[in-house]
């Protein structure tokens, strides 16, 4: 089945230690999104790629970076995680990023910062 895969499902890191979260998709979608979701809150969009075109949200901290080396893979890098960065990180894709497009979500990576 075509899907969005996130690895690892659970990630523990230390305060200030860089961490990378991975997302891959077999849907061949043009757009990939990264969301941060804290407990009992709505997902918050961090940034998205339309193909190789990177689009950052205005309020995304510089501490968060992303890479998309090819259509299938997208990475979220947190350069110096703080305690406030502990959250679920969701990757999503959509075919063309149109208004009517459905977004397909991965299962998420739960990040713990010690």
């Amino acid at each position: 089945d075509a899907m969005v895969i996130q690895n690892p499902r659970y990630q523990v890191t230390q305060f200030g230690k860089p961490v990378t979260l991975s997302c891959s998709q077999t849907l061949n979608h043009n757009v990939m999104y990264w969301y941060q979701q804290k407990s009992s809150q709505a997902p918050k969009l961090l940034f998205h790629y339309y193909d190789k075109d990177f689009n950052n949200e205005a309020d995304t901290p510089d501490n968060f970076q992303s890479r998309r080396p090819n259509t299938s893979f997208c990475f979220l890098d947190i350069r110096s995680p703080g305690l406030g960065d502990a959250a679920m990180y969701l990757c999503a894709t959509s075919r063309d990023g149109g208004f009517t497009d459905t977004q397909y979500f991965g299962p998420g990576t739960r990040l713990t910062v010690l």
């Binding site: 969005v4 709505a42 997902p43 339309y50 689009n55 990023g97 497009d101 459905t102 991965g106």
Partner: protein, 115 residues
Amino acid sequence: AQSVTQLDSQVPVFEEAPVELRCNYSSSVSVYLFWYVQYPNQGLQLLLKYLSGSTLVKGINGFEAEFNKSQTSFHLRKPSVHISDTAEYFCAVSGYYSSASKIIFGSGTRLSIRP
């Protein structure tokens, strides 16, 4: 600018009872509305979406929603819930952003089913 309000943060319901989860939106442009469901420790999954045409939209798992333009609402309903419907439900509206649209989510409604 678009925004979404989910009036109830939590809705407890007995099994086999009907449920309605409320959603109101504001938008100055054409509206595309979505309901997503998030089961515990999982990503979000589309339940249904309204694009145009019939105001009553049927989705997966027996859910349906009605688009009401005059009341700017898109409430989600199910006539008889099951334990497996326990989840967080997010109403969302599609908005415009540079190269691709983005989804603006409501704050979510946690549906808990009691046996």
